[in-house]
């Protein structure tokens, strides 16, 4: 049992639940304390040690049910509709009256046509004696699930990664369990037009269905997490403008996840000493060692004022996709960066912070794009920005500008950039174009760069995450 607990934890890890070795040990203790007999009790207990947030708990419950539900669905119940259909079949097919006996024979323990047929056919007789058939006929779910699990392990079912592999694994497991024999017999019975045919067929179908279910649940258990990790990995390295619309919601989730990670890393609030208020107890305490002379003074600590971030985003066609993610990122980080003001422009610039207060981030971004999208003019935009916000820029302000700096040969108004540069704590320019393209055509990037503390190429989530990580480090 400890082994299966460990592999269960492995499964949880692929589903993005972070579990340390210490927690694995805790889970073992829990399992030995509670015992394995009461399933709900065990589930509650393990959940408390392994899942640390309500979201993780939901994942845990799902995985627990899939993983430990080796108890197969009771297929004696499933027989009911089968028999019904068998009966209906018989009604249309008047030739096979003995079949009706077979459906009754399950409830009464008279010998079924299958057994009768077996008496005259040694190969069928042999099949009937096999463990597999015994398990099927006696409705022994434990034996069946055990055999299935074993066959699954032998076939390497835990390595399943793609849904396309499901059929292949189902076949492998069926073969390993000896389904071939049943299949052969079915063909023979078919040829002989034997009354036992439908019964054997039913057992075969039950078996197939059970194996298919098993593979399906194992796929969900093992592959889903892996596929998701793979997807996220790829998405975080793809150019943001190339991500297809269908994957956008995944990217949003990913951004949120990254933001959460960064928030956790940087939520540590630093304090600084501000002279002014005396901390009497500490000073007295320090003074005691000096015979009560309090010359070693201590001051009350106060929290440092939080820095301000101004995000200026170009939302013209070429850059809109990137602006979206920058804003998504910044607003997901609101817990850590509480004072983000955002501005959007193509030619005219306006403050859009309010939109983000009123609407959820996605909706707000849509509105921004709709309101400010158009042809770019950095000169006008910078003038507008200076009118709106230049007075608020001080040594606590970080200005992030996202844009490709392609100004359609207009006046770049570099002097405004320079005054922003001088007033602010730092100016960061994020350009989705690759560095090589910065000096080509109508790009003003090289000139603007001279008025930035830091300019970087930024076109996928990985780069964005790294830059924002740095931003958080430097603003605190």
């Amino acid at each position: 049992m400890p082994d299966s607990l460990v592999s269960f934890i492995q499964v949880l890890r692929t589903h993005d639940v972070r579990i340390s070795p210490a927690e694995t040990l805790d889970a073992m203790h829990v399992a030995t304390t509670l015992g394995y007999s009461d399933r709900t009790l065990l589930r509650d207990g393990l959940g408390m040690t392994l899942a640390k947030t309500p979201e993780e708990e939901a994942i845990f419950l799902q995985c627990f049910d899939r993983f430990f539900d080796r108890q197969l669905a009771d297929f004696s119940e499933e027989q009911q509709p089968d028999e019904q259909s068998a009966v209906e079949d018989n009604e249309t097919d008047t030739a096979s009256t003995p079949d009706q006996d077979s459906s009754e024979s399950d409830t009464t323990s008279e010998s079924s046509p299958l057994e009768e047929a077996a008496q005259s056919d040694p190969s069928l007789e042999e099949l009937m004696q096999s463990e597999l058939m015994q398990a099927l006929m006696n409705n022994d779910r434990n034996a069946l699930s055990l055999a299935m699990t074993k066959a699954g392990e032998a076939a390497g079912l835990q390595q399943i990664q793609m849904f396309t592999q499901k059929g292949q694994f189902t076949r492998k497991i069926l073969d390993a369990m000896g389904e071939e024999q049943i299949r052969k017999s079915v063909i023979e019975l078919e040829r002989a037009d034997s009354p036992a045919l439908s019964e054997l067929q039913r057992y075969r179908d039950i078996l197939r269905e059970q194996v298919r279910d098993h593979v399906e649940s194992q796929y969900l258990l093992h592959a889903q997490g892996k596929t998701q990790q793979f997807m996220e990995d790829v998405l975080s390295k793809t150019r943001l403008s190339n991500i297809e619309h269908t994957y956008l919601h995944r990217v949003h989730d990913l951004v949120r996840k990254m933001a959460k990670k960064l928030a956790a890393r940087h939520s540590h609030k630093r304090r600084e000493y501000r002279r002014g208020q005396l901390n009497m107890p500490r000073t007295m305490r320090a003074g005691i060692t000096n015979d009560g002379l309090m010359f070693d003074v201590h001051w009350r600590r106060t929290r440092k004022e939080k820095p301000q971030i101004l995000a200026v985003c170009d939302v013209s066609g070429s850059v809109a996709a990137y602006a979206k993610f920058l804003l998504l990122f910044l607003y997901s980080l609101q817990d850590v960066l509480p004072r983000v003001r955002s501005f959007a422009f193509s030619s005219n610039l306006g403050e859009v912070s309010e939109l983000f207060e009123q609407y959820p981030v996605e909706k707000a971004i849509e509105l921004v794009n709709w309101k400010y999208g158009g042809a770019t003019d950095y000169g006008t935009a910078l003038t507008d920005f200076a009118n709106l916000a230049l007075d608020d820029i001080n040594s606590n302000t970080t200005v992030i500008i996202l844009g490709d700096a392609r100004n359609n040969k207009g006046d770049p108004k570099l002097e405004i950039m320079q005054s922003i540069y001088q007033r602010s704590r730092q100016v960061i320019w994020l350009n989705p174009e690759s560095r090589r393209a910065w000096a080509t055509g109508d790009s003003e990037m090289q000139r603007y760069q001279s008025a930035c503390h830091f300019a970087a190429e930024c076109n996928n989530l990985k780069q964005l995450e790294r830059i924002i990580d740095q931003l958080l480090k430097s603003t605190r």
């Binding site: 805790d26 959940g47 640390k52 959460k260 005691i288």
Partner: protein, 313 residues
């Protein structure tokens, strides 16, 4: 706690029964958590919306085990001097004064400096000793001879630094005092931490705890809670009022009414001698359930429909 035998904590069932006898009706999950916390000597981190009985759980456990409850309310700026220990400065100062006076007697007969220092060293120093130590809740919990229930309430309100301070206590049940050394718990206390999830707690803290999430109860469970807390309420009214609160919880409200509000409401209805819900009654007592004017306004238009739904059967 653990070297003693508590028949109340022998099994999940007995915990449930014990809690019930003190009027705390709980789900299997809560009882399992308490059972495991005792067996594995681990703290429980209780999360959930306000008013579902997180603090009450610790209080009831203390009643059940007849051990003292030591409570530490967390808030921003809480530091070790308020949570762990503090030196009694005043007394320490006096002690140095007394010492100065006695110094002459003490050093009588010494001839040179080296000898005086030698003599001083032989003299036992109690300046930094337990006598001048003022224990705060956490240290107090460690010092209890017969164990204690330690409730660290609303740990999410405390600062990040304070969390790190808790780690040593939560995993090893000991406190390091630089001047004295390590103080180990005489008897391991049972620790409950509660959190309203106003911020994410650190992984290090979460890892050391059993994680218990208490959601709003089901209708059936809440009815049992009301029966045990406000036994005089008529069965029909009880069902109606719980149903009503449950439908309120489905609505988009600023502050969703919790169990404590349901209990308060049941009590007020009892005082008003109500035997069933009607619109007039609900409207006049709604402020017991909803704590924001906005919420009361928002429900106003749907009140009639809600009451009709809950009193239908």
């Amino acid at each position: 706690m653990h070297n003693q035998d508590f028949p109340q904590l022998a099994s999940v069932e007995s915990i449930k029964e014990g809690f019930e006898s003190f009027g705390y009706i709980c789900s299997d999950k809560i009882a399992t958590a308490v059972f495991l916390a005792f067996q594995l000597r681990k703290p429980i981190l209780v999360e959930g919306p306000p008013g579902v009985g997180k603090t009450e759980l610790a209080k009831t456990t203390s009643q059940l085990l007849e051990t003292p409850l030591i409570r530490l309310q967390c808030y921003e700026g809480l530091d070790e001097a308020k949570a762990l220990y503090e030196w009694k400065y005043g007394k320490q100062l006096l002690y140095t004064q007394v010492l100065k006076e006695k110094l002459g007697d003490l050093l009588q007969g010494t001839h040179d400096l080296a000898e005086s220092v030698e003599r001083l060293h032989q003299f036992g120093d109690i300046f930094y000793s337990e006598e001048f130590l003022e224990p705060r809740p956490l240290l107090k919990a460690m010092q209890q001879e017969r164990g204690a229930i330690l409730l660290i309430d609303e740990v999410d309100k405390s600062d990040y630094e304070f969390e790190s301070l808790l780690l040593e206590i939560l995993s090893d049940y000991q406190i390091s005092i630089p001047e004295i050394g390590t103080v180990k718990a005489r008897t391991t206390p049972m620790v409950f931490l509660t959190s309203n999830n106003t911020r994410d707690l650190s992984d290090a803290l979460k890892r050391r705890c059993l994680h218990l999430y208490i959601p709003f109860p089901t209708v059936e469970l809440e009815e049992r809670i009301i029966r045990s807390r406000v036994p005089d309420v008529d069965e029909k009214l009880r069902h109606q009022l719980v149903e009503f609160v449950h439908s309120l919880r489905q609505m988009d409200l600023k502050k969703i009414p919790a169990i404590s509000e349901t209990i308060d409401w049941a009590r007020s209805l009892l005082l008003l001698h109500a035997d069933k819900l009607d619109e007039e009654l609900v409207r006049s007592t709604l402020n017991v359930l909803l704590k924001f004017e906005d919420d009361i306004d928002a429900t106003d238009s749907e009140l009639r429909q809600l009451i009709r739904d809950t009193t239908r059967d």
